[in-house]
């Protein structure tokens, strides 16, 4: 919309058309903007206030300044462990989860019989409610009655104490996470469908093999959605609570004590709402930083196609 003569700047340094677009854009996002102010911004500020207090829900909050933050970083014995556990879990489960969802989607996007059934099967675990999942897996992984160890014993292999061994507990959580990647897989499936066939046909004419087509067409065309799933995996990975809480209760030996479990304990078991609010804010800042890093580095590998050149 370039104008050859200098456009008249009317309002806040915007031209007429820029101003019109600004208000149009604002109109479209207004539902979100309103909801954000009501249910997010105001509670956020509230909890920031709480983080500067000592508050046990029974008595009124008492202002103590940055004391909570100092205690978290210098005095709390579990903070280091909890941070390590969480970084370990997110650092492995996010990329592995996205990669496995992508590969599954590619596998399911090929010419196979009964495709609908296969897709439903792989999607299924993602729709089981969290505490059903916990109940079922807890039993399955059990050393005595568990079906998995039962099968291992039947073929002569030693039993694996999945959630009883501190060294195995986190990998077990990651394994269950990989089992529930149906959401990401379905999103990838929808994306793969939208890669224009013409690109593949043109590649075939140019003599490209399957691997080359994958590397040069499929993957680049899917990069916006790969980024989406990576960001989501990161954000929700840091906030993962229900399954570890119900499955391992943070044990054994605090090996699966993730940040969110630690936060929950401080809030509802020790009734340290102020400290819990501080922990929540720290988590929030960490998630924001990681997301910014992910977005900044994404400019190099994400390709936003818009049809033809």
């Amino acid at each position: 919309m370039a104008v050859s003569t200098a456009p008249k700047k009317l309002w806040f340094g915007m031209t007429t058309s820029e101003r019109r677009n600004f208000f149009t854009g604002l109109t479209f996002i207004s539902p979100w903007l309103l909801g954000f102010s009501l249910w997010t911004l105001y509670p956020l500020i509230s909890s920031l206030r709480f983080s500067l207090t000592r508050y046990d829900l029974l008595r009124d909050p008492v202002f103590i300044g940055l004391r909570n933050y100092v205690e978290i970083f210098t005095e709390d014995p579990l903070f280091g462990t909890v941070t390590y556990n969480t970084l370990y879990y997110v650092g492995l489960s996010a990329p592995l989860g996205v990669a496995s969802a992508f590969l599954l989607a590619i596998l399911l996007n090929t010419e196979i019989r009964g495709r609908s059934a296969w897709r439903a099967i792989f999607f299924f675990p993602a729709i089981i409610p969290a505490f059903v999942t916990a109940m079922v897996w807890q039993f399955l992984l059990n050393v005595q009655y568990g079906a998995i160890n039962g099968a291992l014993q039947a073929i002569g292999l030693p039993i694996i104490p999945f959630i009883a061994n501190p060294a195995l507990a986190k990998p077990t959580l990651i394994m269950i996470h990989l089992w529930a990647q149906g959401n990401a897989m379905v999103i990838f499936l929808a994306t793969l469908q939208d890669v224009p066939r013409s690109l593949y046909e043109a590649a075939t004419v140019d003599g490209a093999g399957a691997w080359q087509k994958f590397k040069n067409i499929t993957v680049p065309m899917c990069t916006p959605v790969i980024l989406f799933n990576m960001v989501i995996a990161l954000i929700y990975g840091f906030q993962n609570f229900t399954l570890p809480w119900l499955l391992t209760q943070g044990g054994p030996n605090s090996s699966t004590e993730l940040y969110t479990l630690f936060l929950y304990r401080n809030a509802f078991e020790y009734l340290r709402m102020g400290k819990a609010s501080a922990l929540a804010w720290i988590l929030f800042v960490v998630i924001v930083i990681f997301t910014i890093i992910l977005f900044r580095t994404s400019e190099r590998w994400v390709f936003y196609g818009s049809g033809d050149e």
Binding site: F28, S47, S116, Y145, A280
Partner: protein
């Protein structure tokens, strides 16, 4: 791949010639196909295992649950567990609440509002758009624990506790996860389409409603399905705001069953009943997915301009 045969040999294009020359079956491709099905079967087996365990435990009696080595096909089986477990609480009412007072309104709200907002973040170039979008994204990074208690206080002041309002109303203000997702999809549609519409005199709303939305039906179906599914399984929200038993949703009913069982020592058929209700709760979602996946996965191409 649709390769059309043409009337005369001279008019067969180079593309079609190359494509027709490729042989259909090679040793490598047959081997690859077998390997593929083997892999799929092995994966499917491990994916289904826990759910099969859940369903098979549902028809066991207590002795069979705790048998070592584990019982996969209980004999005798007790299918009456399903009926008896469902009857322990008013699960029919919970199901009605879940669908008509919770999941359906939320699905409609989230899908419509998220698409509307995502359009503003993707198809219109306006100053400050990216900042607002990042703020929107940032809200996803806010752990629910941060806002949980202050939000409860807000809703208490509105007088909305003990109603479905705190659960349904926020749905009509867009969900950042789906705004993000739909924005990515909308951005993949060529700007030429919007330009053409603008030239034809359409304003942004008409462009969105008549052109962009129909093209992104697969993505909208995904949003609707995921939202429905998540609300069906949602537990913490209903736990906080639905206090009376006649408002319970299925997740609360299941938890109520679990608590009843846990509070009475040595209740017979505790685990099988839990598994039975869990199985019944998950079946509708599976069916819903199976029926709708064709629509959104094998949907229309988003680019709108097939090469």
């Amino acid at each position: 791949m649709s390769v059309q045969a043409t009337s005369t040999p001279q008019t067969v294009s180079a593309t079609e010639q190359t494509l027709r020359k490729a042989p259909r079956w090679t040793i490598a491709s047959v081997f690859g196909t077998i390997l593929k099905y083997l892999l799929l079967t092995a994966l499917a087996f491990s994916f289904l295992l826990p759910m099969f365990w859940m369903a098979s435990s549902a028809v066991k009696d207590d002795a069979q649950v705790y048998t070592v080595p584990p019982v996969w096909f209980p004999n005798p089986a007790y299918p009456e567990n399903f009926i008896n477990a469902w009857a322990t609480h008013d699960f029919n009412l919970y199901a009605f609440n879940t669908v008509f007072r919770y999941a359906l309104p939320v699905t409609i709200g989230v899908t419509l509002s998220s698409a509307f907002v995502a359009y503003g973040f993707s198809r219109i170039q306006w100053k400050g758009r990216n900042i607002f979008f990042f703020v929107c994204l940032a809200t996803m990074m806010v752990p629910f624990q941060v806002t949980m208690v202050p939000l409860f206080i807000i809703f208490k002041n509105f007088g909305w506790v003990n109603t479905f309002l705190p659960l349904v109303v926020p749905a009509f203000f867009g969900a950042p996860y789906f705004i993000f997702m739909l924005r990515q999809f909308f951005m993949g549609i060529p700007t030429e389409l919007s330009d053409a519409a603008r030239i034809d005199g359409a304003n942004e709303f008409i462009t969105m409603w008549r052109i962009i939305l129909p093209l992104t039906k697969p993505a909208l179906m995904v949003v609707a399905l995921f939202t429905f599914m998540n609300t069906w399984n949602e537990y913490l929200g209903p736990l906080i705001y639905l206090r009376r038993e006649e408002q319970y949703v299925l997740a609360l009913g299941l938890e109520s069953l679990r608590r009843t069982i846990a509070s009475i020592a040595n209740v017979a058929l505790a685990y099988p009943y839990l598994m039975a209700v869990s199985t019944i709760i998950t079946v509708p979602i599976l069916i819903a997915f199976f029926l709708t996946q064709r629509t959104f996965i094998e949907g229309i191409s988003l680019t709108g301009l097939k090469g």
